[in-house]
């Protein structure tokens, strides 16, 4: 062998097609710890680890046959003392003296091997982390969806509860509590912005006798029907509420005395003229309109007195609290 090739700074090896070692240079022999006579004429398997042998058959062999060259392949050689020596090899296949030869050069890659091992380990860790992350994100997404649907359920339920909490079960009108809150709000609004409002307290006349004569079922039916009528008569912003028993209330925002009287009279007339297909009823109404420095209880009291007066004066009529005061003075 050419002196330069024999001691070149890379291993050199030539094989025939059966894998017999035709030539091997001193550099590679040194690396493997073998003598020339131990390897020349022997099979390449002698210096390959079991994994490398299989790997060569799976990858190296088809590649060199089909492409006539192999570049940058990593395998590991086996030294005389059974030590694994990772190498990087290039190979080419060509005809020499009428025979096919497979020539290899190889360089040890001990440091690079460590380095690539570390890279591979990190890559595997990253891959498994990424997979874990993906899985966790999927789980979180699922949880988020569940949470959203639970939240929606809760919102719906809350809304239902909210409605139930402010609604009178029998008539479907607002209940006393809601009425009270709304009255407070209107009183405050009046103080702040001087927006007047009126309050109607309505009582079904002789309701006790309906209950006595026709039974409570009929009484309830009347309350329901009247509730519906009151609802129909009220505007969007009006608050129609069941005040208690057969007593109802209507808050009329932005309505002054004359407006309130008109609405009250309208309702009264409507009730009187309605054919209920039930015992006919009439209603008495007391009206009060807010004044500055008013309080909830004050306006309720005035409306209540006006209602009392309507009752006293023979029922089926409307009384405004301010007329009541004037008549008290004129009386």
């Amino acid at each position: 062998m050419d002196e330069q090739l024999n001691f070149a700074p890379c291993g050199y090896l030539s094989l025939d097609d059966d894998g017999t070692i035709l030539a091997i240079n001193e550099t590679l022999l040194n690396l493997l710890g073998h003598n020339l006579h131990e390897l020349q004429g022997k099979h390449i398997d002698l210096i390959l680890s079991n994994a490398s042998r299989s790997f060569s058959q799976l990858y190296f062999f088809p590649m060199i046959r089909l492409q006539k060259k192999v570049e940058e392949m990593y395998i590991s050689l086996k030294s005389k003392t059974d030590e694994e020596i990772p190498i990087l090899l290039n190979a080419c296949r060509h005809e020499r003296n009428g025979k096919m030869c497979n020539d290899y050069i190889c360089v040890p890659m001990k440091r690079r091997y460590e380095y690539e091992q570390a890279l591979l380990t990190v890559k595997k860790e990253t891959d498994s982390c990424n997979q874990l992350k993906k899985k966790q994100i999927a789980e979180l997404d699922l949880l988020r969806l569940e949470l959203e649907s639970k939240q929606n359920e809760l919102l719906e339920l809350n809304e239902k509860l909210q409605t139930l909490a402010v609604t009178d079960g029998l008539t479907g009108l607002k209940n006393r509590r809601y009425f009270q809150e709304n009255l407070t709000l209107n009183v405050a609004l009046h103080r702040k912005r001087l927006e007047p409002f009126s309050l109607l307290l309505i009582d079904i006349d002789h309701f006790k006798s309906i209950n006595d004569n026709f039974g409570h079922m009929m009484g309830d039916k009347i309350l329901e029907e009247f509730g519906r009528l009151l609802k129909d008569e009220s505007r969007t912003n009006d608050i129609a509420a069941r005040y208690g028993g057969e007593e109802f209330a209507l808050i009329l925002p932005n309505i002054d005395k004359s407006g309130a009287l008109k609405i009250a009279e309208g309702i009264r007339l409507h009730v009187e003229n309605t054919n209920w297909n039930l015992p006919n009823i009439t209603i008495s109404i007391g009206v009060a309109t807010s004044s500055s420095n008013d309080t909830e209880s004050a306006i309720q009291l005035r409306a209540d007195r006006a209602l009392y007066t309507s009752k006293n004066r023979g029922r089926n009529q409307v009384t405004h609290a301010s007329d009541l005061i004037r008549s008290l003075f004129t009386d």
């Binding site: 398997d45 079991n50 790997f55 058959q57 990858y59 046959r65 089909l66 690539e116």
Partner: protein
Amino acid sequence: MDQNILFRNNVNITGKGSKAILFAPGFGCDQNMWRMVAPFFEEHFRVILFDYVGSGKSDYNAYSPSKYSDLKGYAQDVLDICDALNLKEAVFVGHSVGGIIGMLASIQEPDRFEHLIMIGPSPCYLNDPPNYSGGFVKGELEALIEMMEMNYIGWANYLSQVIMKNPDRPELSQELEESFCSTDPTVARDFAIATFFSDHREDLKMVTVPSLILQCSNDSIAPIEVGEYMHRTLSESTFSLMKATGHCPHMSHPEETIRLISDYLTTSYAGCISNG
């Protein structure tokens, strides 16, 4: 004919005959492997070549880690191809794990196959002492898989995909694209695990299609004991020990490979004729 399947597995059909002969590559390689053997059969057969999903020019989008974590996934693809081409009583030639894949397919649908020709097959690579010697201990198989991972062969396609996004260096992509055995690294790893850690010894007993085992001398992947074990266990099998060494006789010794396959087929067809 289902064009999707033919596209998915990069199915290529040549030859003048009517009887189909299917060539299945071994682990991690594509149909190029057969280029020294397959053309010989074109005179009398309809020659069908294909790539596994995840290697060669197959449709990589069709890859599913769960389906292909088991050789049965690959066997299903063979059956899909048979179905797409309406094959009956075809000759199946499989190299290495390709032989096992064909064998699994034949258990599912025996009518599709007339003969199984397996080159260097192994039903189980791991030793199972004391009664079975597959040729490998666990550590050796792990070292083999690690070696695949460390080599850029397995990375070639991955890299080519990365480089393809880099228009400044189109020549690199071209070179890698054409490189032999280019397989996606994840696919290669899954396939390696499905291949080398599988145990199909029990399946051997369920094979009814007649088979030929071509056993190489000095094959470190499928040692002679493994070939003999297969011959003992497979009913109606013929065993042929080749002069060829190594694991790829269809590339190293194409003439001997062709001769043994055609002798086997000629004998069995002659048998058919004389019986008929």
